[in-house]
Each structure stands twice: as C-alpha cells, then as structure tokens.
Amino acid sequence: MPDIRAGGDDQLEELYREVILDHYRRPRNRGCVDGDGAVAVELQNPTCGDEIRVSARMDEGRIADLRFEGRGCSISMASASLMTEALRGRTPREAIAMSARFKAMLMGETIPEAEVDEMGDLVALSGVARFPVRVKCATLAWNAVLRTLGAGADGD
C-alpha cells in the first residue's frame, strides 16, 4: 500500500531545480539536423500526448550534431535540452551507456561517486525519481535518441 506522501515545497524545489527551469526557459540545441546522413526519430508520451523529435548526424563515429524539437512540460523539454549537451561528441556506445546511467538514476538508484562528475548537469534531474509519472517525461528524448542510434528503447 503506498504511503501518504508529505513534504510540500521542498519536494517541489527538488523536482524543479534551477538548472531545469533554466533549460526549460532557454532550451539548448533546439531545431532539426538536416542534410546528408541525418537521422530523426519522433516519439510521443502516451500518458499525456507530449511529442518530441530528435535528430542527429554522425561523423567519424561520433554524434556530431544533435537537436530536438517538440512540445512538452518543463521536465521533458529540460531533459531533452540537457541530453543534447551531454551526448554531443560521444560515440554511440558512450551515449548508450550514459543513457543507461541516466535511466538508472530516474529509477532511484544512487549514482556512484565516480560517475557523478561525468553526469554533470543531468544530476539535476535526479529529483524526478520521486515522481513516477514524470519519469516518462524525463526519458522521452532519451528513448528517441536511442532509436536514432538504432538501439532499442525499452519501456518507452
């Protein structure tokens, strides 16, 4: 049986950290990667209808360009924006590993000390773990990018 939650404002602050609100208001890498070799994937959150389109271009085995378009809540938009920053310049392998770490964090797993640094600003989204309905918002862009890399996006 679930517990009656308490908490109030602190919880809200923990969900909506300053970094998130900043990326929501001023999203980075919004737009569409065009041209030769660009791949795009569009996904929708069935629980709310939020839509996202992620497009990428690979160069020399790395994600050379990565952008997103879409409409959604602060969590989904901020997560997309943070994602583009975190994954640009990575190899697909690194991106898949990073995305696995990110999802684990949203499932409530604590991030090993050694990885906190590498996660960078993404850590700001760790508060989402306490709001199960919002986890889908936070993973939408990640599932889309995984698909552009040809990797399955389980649980989307």
Partner: protein, 415 residues
C-alpha cells in the same frame, strides 16, 4: 443523509461531504481538494457499505444457485438492475446490461452490432470531441468492415448544432455515435434532436453518457436513443461496474459479444444457442457487489436530488469560469454555460503537467494531459490541457483554493 430531495431545494453540501471519508484526507500537509471527478468520483459510505454488505451477508454466484445465499445474491443483483433502469428512465430492466465500464459498453455495440452489420461504404458519424472509448472501437470496426467515419463539425467554441449532423448524414449513414457531455469541452450535445434526425434516416444512435448520467437527470425514453453507455465509478459507484442500456428490441436482434457461462441457452459440443436478454450479453460471473454498489450510488443520487445536484454543479462551474477568467494568461476551452461540470484550461507559460504538479503540492488534484481526446487536443492546437472537474461535494472555497494554487504556479514558473 439529510433530506434534500425536494425539487428545487438546494444541495446540503456539508452534510453530503460527511458521507465521503476520503475528503478528510490531507495531501502534502494540506487538505485534499479533489477536482478530478470526471476521471473518477469519490464514494460515499453508503456505497462502500452496500458492497461490503454483499460479502458479509450473502456473497454467492448468481442465477444458477438453489441455496439461500445464491437466491439473495440473485435478488440483489436483479434488484440493482431494476434500480439502475428506473434511474435512467428505462421502462424495461432487461435493457440494462452490466459490464465493467463505459468503454466495454461502447465496444460491445461497436463489435456485436457494428462489426456484424456494417458493410463497405457504410458510414459511421461521430464528433471530433469523442473520448477515445467512443472513437477507437469505431475506427477498429471501420477498418474491418470497410465502413467510413464521418465527423460532425463543432462551432468555434466547441458547441454542436444539430444542423451539423445534417451536413454529414447520408443514405449510407448507419450509426450516429456521440457523447452527451464532452469530458474536455463540457459541451452538452442536443441528444434528443440528434437522435430524431438520425432515426429519420434509419441510423442507429449510440450515446456516450459517461459524463452526463452523474451530473444531469437522464431519461433514455425522452432522449430517444438506441444505446446509452456509462460507468459506475464516475457516478459515486464502485470501479469495475458499468452499464450498457439498449432498447430491448435492439438487444434482442443482436448477436452476443462474449461467449461463456450464463449467456447460453443450450450448448452442444459444436454449437450453442443464446439466452434471453440481458443475460445474452453478460458472459461469466458478473460483479454482483459492483452492481449492488452502483444501485446504492443511484439511491444516494436520488436522495440528494439530481436537479439540486445539477444546479449546485452549474453554479460552481460558472463561478470557476469567472474566477479562472480573471487570472492573467488563462485560456478556457469550450462553450459558455449551460455546460458540463468541468473547466478545461491552459495557463500561458506553464505546461499542464507542471501546473498539476504544483497544484498537487497544494493539495489540489486536477487532471493534466490529453484526457483521452487526442484529436480534439490537436484541433485546439495544444498537446495537453489542465482540467478541473466537479462533483456534488465540491465548494466555492475549493475553487478559490484552485485559483490560489494556479497563481502560485505562475509565480514559480515566472509565467
């Protein structure tokens, strides 16, 4: 419950509230303000006691039992059928089919009637504001049969003029299916007039009454429809029980939907013949406490008085629309009153998800999302909206709490 039955007498909201223990609950340290009633209502103790009463006194399988418990369960189950029939003005209780929810009821019509009778080129007329439950089954049936979907146009505010039906009605129109009250726009449709015009061309009429039966006096004979679907859980009854009302004549001419126990007359290894209505459509062990709980909800609503309830909710909705209208950046969707007991809106700069999250921290429960009406969302040019929906226990003080919380969300997001 305190007497407040007389026609026109005001609802005694505070003594009604006392029948709902959950309304005492606190959420995040604040009193619960439950404004998600179009999704599901809370249940009065009368309903909880009725359900428990079955389990404590005479729980048994119905119909085939020759023992006291089984006879009592059957009497209670059939008694519930008669009470629900009377509540919606159905003369013949055999028109009441107990199912899980409105969704199953609408599927039953689409599959058991539509799939067997529609031919390629036949037309099914809907509205663009249907809940997915009255849209997707018809899409599925259309795909299988080759029938086509046509949509009545709404006006710019989301109202439905009966002339919109004439514009799409044709010689191939076989089904006209539409909501009595939109769960997004609050639009009340002119059911009787739509049915009259649909009948004139020989089309079957199917009314999704999930959002009307809990809020307005509904009389199927006056509406003149062939089928009407609704859910117990949206009208203070238990989850897991819903109703399809059908004209007995229509039900009789239909083949069954699910096969199994209770719906048969005679079964050979290779074939079977069907039981009389409504049993033909109630395969397997029914939800007896669910039906008895629904009958208790009906009794509760009758005691409160549907006219008084409707007046209370109308006043509350008007108040909410006025108050919300004064908040900067708020857009309200749907036509002006008279309308359903809900307000769907958006706040500029605050996504509905984020709004709902902040409101939840204030104890205010609303719904955010597409409300199972994605095509309508697209038409409104949004991906999601926020919705506050009312029940007989809501108060103007709760509407004030809603508005205060919205102000707070605007601040939070600097909107």
């Amino acid at each position: 419950m305190a007497g407040s039955t007389a026609h026109g007498e005001a609802l005694d909201v505070s003594s009604l509230r006392a029948r709902f223990p959950i309304l005492e609950r606190r959420v995040h340290g604040r009193p619960l303000v439950y404004l998600d009633n179009a999704a599901t209502t809370q249940k009065p103790v009368e309903v909880l006691e009725a359900e428990q009463g079955v389990y404590l006194r005479y729980n048994a399988n119905v119909h085939r039992a020759i023992h006291a418990l089984g006879e009592e369960a059957t009497a209670a189950y059939e008694g519930a059928r008669a009470q629900v029939a009377a509540f919606i003005g159905a003369r013949d209780p055999r028109g009441i089919v107990f199912l899980r929810n409105a969704t199953e009821a609408l599927n039953l019509v689409a599959w058991a009637w539509g799939r067997r009778r529609l031919r390629a080129g036949d037309e099914i007329v809907l509205t663009p504001m249907e809940h997915h439950s009255n849209l997707v089954p018809w899409q599925m049936v259309a795909r299988e049969t080759g029938a086509r979907l046509r949509f009545m146009a709404l006006d710019e505010r989301g109202a439905l003029d009966p002339d919109a039906l004439d514009a799409v009605l044709g010689p191939r129109t076989r089904v006209v299916a539409f909501t009595h009250c939109s769960n997004v726009l609050g639009t009340i449709t002119p059911v009787a007039e739509l049915c009259r015009r649909a009948r004139a061309v020989g089309a079957l009429t199917v009314v999704d009454a999930a959002q009307s039966v809990p809020h307005l006096p509904v009389d199927v004979e006056a509406l003149g429809c062939d089928f009407l679907a609704f859910s117990g859980h949206k009208m203070y009854g238990p989850m897991g029980i819903g109703v399809l009302w059908g004209q007995p004549r229509r039900l009789e001419e239909m083949d069954p939907f699910l096969g199994g126990g209770e719906m048969i007359l005679r079964v050979e290894l290779e074939e079977a013949t069907w039981n009389a209505i409504p049993y033909k459509f109630e395969a397997g062990t029914p939800n007896v406490p669910g039906a008895v709980g629904l009958a208790a909800a009906v009794a509760f609503l009758r005691a409160a008085g549907m006219e008084a309830l409707a007046a209370h909710e109308a006043a509350l909705t008007t108040y909410a629309m006025e108050r919300l209208g004064t908040i900067p950046g708020v857009t309200i969707y749907g036509p002006p009153a008279p309308r359903g007991a809900l307000v769907t809106f958006n706040v500029e700069g605050v996504h509905p998800h984020d709004l709902a999250q902040v409101l939840d921290q204030e104890g205010v429960a609303i719904r955010a999302g597409h409300h199972c009406a994605q095509p309508l969302m697209r038409r409104l040019g949004v991906v999601a909206t926020a919705r506050a929906s009312f029940a007989l226990y809501n108060t103007t003080a709760e509407v004030d709490a809603l508005c205060g919380a919205i102000e707070r969300a605007r601040e939070f997001f600097h909107a």
